[in-house]
């Protein structure tokens, strides 16, 4: 009985603690979630139309590199603002171009989609590492600069309840800020427009879609390219909005965590965003519990857990989610299955 009482009290303390730290954490959570969410949107668009893409990690990395390289090369000539804007544009284009490659491999050539994605990841790691060593490392430390985040005036930020939420979305750089709009727009587009219906049709039953006159190949190309452009934006976020530098392999598994967020969100944009926020929260909590240790017994327990357990929190969560604890979520029926037009086989 006493054990139960203690447990209830601990859970209560944990709840109170989370409620007190969360307002300050919100902007950090969104910043950590942004690359994951954009990567997950890439996954949603690809898989909804029937193409598996595990190369998101590699696409992010390539885009991060070329976006940074652009900003870095033009920084002195154009000034910080325009060079970063151009860098972001290049990153998105690189993402889209790699999307063309992935679409060609998976839709036209009908290569094994897992192998195509794996190839993307390996190639991206090698290419960016090599070029980084060749171009960026020898030329010194001066970075491309980073976007200074926006700050809400204190009068608004200090409003009760709404304040922290507004701060979460507006004390950010432009990419993180636009994320919410992208998510909402995609959610509406996927479930309320003709394009969305066609996308889902070619992902669920391409043959049926084909019989009613939808060009399956075209639809798949379009969505893979569009999705990969979002992965490119995620890469731009990493180098140009978040860290201001490029490091070899800096995506550090984010592309795969993005896939987990996609599965967690059952292949919907809003769900994927929620999944990304969940991972962002795990990462942020891992950082914050060390800095703001709560009072009482809960604090004692938290202090006694070594810091690397907190650092591992988002990865542990990935494993748990992928192991299916959140329930079986069903992928689109034709996910990963190349479509062969009848009579063409």
């Amino acid at each position: 009985m006493e054990v139960v009482g203690t447990l209830v009290r601990l859970i209560w303390e944990l709840g109170v603690y989370l409620v007190t730290v969360l307002p300050d954490l919100l902007p950090i959570i969104l910043a950590l979630a942004t690359p994951l969410a954009l990567g997950a949107l890439c996954g949603v668009l690809n898989e909804r139309s029937g193409v598996v893409n595990i190369g998101i990690e590699g696409i992010m990395l390539m885009a991060a590199f070329f976006g940074y390289l652009t900003g870095f090369a033009l920084h002195d000539a154009m000034g910080s603002g325009p060079s970063i804007a151009l860098g972001i544009l290049i990153a998105v284009l690189v993402g889209a171009l790699l999307g063309v490659l992935h679409a060609w491999l998976t839709v036209s050539v009908r290569a094994d989609q897992i192998i195509a994605g794996t190839m993307m990841n390996i190639a991206a790691f090698g290419v960016t590492g090599y070029l980084n060593r060749l171009v960026i490392t020898p030329s010194g430390r001066g970075g491309a600069g980073v976007i200074t985040p926006f700050h809400l005036p204190d009068q608004i930020a200090n409003l009760p309840l709404v304040g922290p939420i507004l701060v979460m979305f507006f004390d950010q750089g432009p990419i993180a800020m636009s994320l919410v709009f992208i998510v909402i727009a995609l959610q509406l587009a996927l479930f309320r427009t003709r394009w969305g219906l066609r996308t889902r049709a070619v992902g669920e039953h391409p043959k049926a879609a084909d019989t009613v006159g939808i060009d399956v190949y075209r639809q798949r190309y379009l969505n893979v390219i569009l999705g990969c452009a979002f992965a490119g934006l995620a890469g731009a976020f990493l180098t140009l909005e978040s860290t201001g530098s490029f490091q070899n392999g800096m995506t550090n598994g984010r592309g795969f965590i993005a896939l987990a967020a996609m599965i967690f969100g059952r292949w919907t944009p809003i769900g994927a965003f929620a999944g990304a926020l969940l991972f962002g929260t795990a990462t942020a909590l891992g950082v914050v519990v060390a800095v703001r240790v709560p009072e009482g017994d809960l604090g004692g327990i938290m202090r006694s857990i070594p810091s690397y357990w907190y650092a591992a929190l988002p990865y542990l969560m990935t494993i748990v989610i992928l192991a299916g604890v959140v329930g079986r979520s069903t992928p689109p029926a034709a996910d990963g299955v190349p479509y062969v037009k009848e009579g063409k086989g």
Partner: protein
Amino acid sequence: MKRLLAFGLAFGLVVAGCGGGGLGGGGGLKIGMVTDIGQLEDKSFNEFSWKGVQDGASAVGGSAKNIVTKDIADYKQNIQSFVDQKYDVIVTVGFLIGTDTLAAAKANPGIQFFGVDQFIPDPIPANYQGLLFNEAQAGYLAGIVAGTITKSSKIGAVGGREDVPPVVNYIKGYENAAKSVKPGVQVLVNYVGDFNAPDKGEASAKTMIGQGADVVFQVAGLTGAGVLRAACNAKIWGIGVDVDQYQSLPDAKACIVTSAEKRLQNATRDAIKRFKDKGKQSGNFTNDATNDGIGYSPIRNLNPVPAGLEDKLKQAIADMKSGKLKPVP
């Protein structure tokens, strides 16, 4: 296949040959330095170690040459090229090159090796000395600055990993110093578990700032770049580590007050002099306040510099020299 191999070898030789550069001089000691990955003018470990090697070479009437390492895989070959050219002293820079340096020292007992930031485990060859630094003392100086300038009586420190002793030493010294100049100061410490995650560093520093911290000290490599970025964005003070980060990290110029420094230039210079005067050097040599091996970078961004701050720092250095002050009791 054979032709390809020959081409590869030739290419390797050209690359190795290109890296050179340095100071002439006829007879005397031939001193070679192999840098860590990156470039020579990095305003950090490579550059200052090299300056010290040059100083040391001119002090003992020798000549100095360097090879800039481009990739981890080249450490061994770069060391070997100095060995092949019969150099008397080889200095290698950075923790990562330690393994290859140890192997080269064992294989070439006639050559003196020095390793900057390399702790050598037993058994230590008689011709290999690690040049280490008393991080706790350097951190102590940073702590004096932080404790003096904080208005909120809350300061922060972000460390890379808790299982890396130099990181912990820096932060312990920092904490103790801040408490000694400002009793009751609260020191928020976080080890993010990663030297390569600026976003986590930023998140950590933001949390500390949200808690009211108005000075943050970073001991976290690249993670620390995120820490200083958060500090600059929030318009609070940042303190750098190892070298003068006002110079090495231009993005953080706006808010760096000082850096807890390892005096690399003194360390390599003195090592070469020791070798000239006393012959073969072995063991792990600690650079600290007694031999000007640690210090603080010029105070910046403070207008005005608080009265007595420089005096407190000088006094602390003097007391650490005399042994009166132990940063970590």
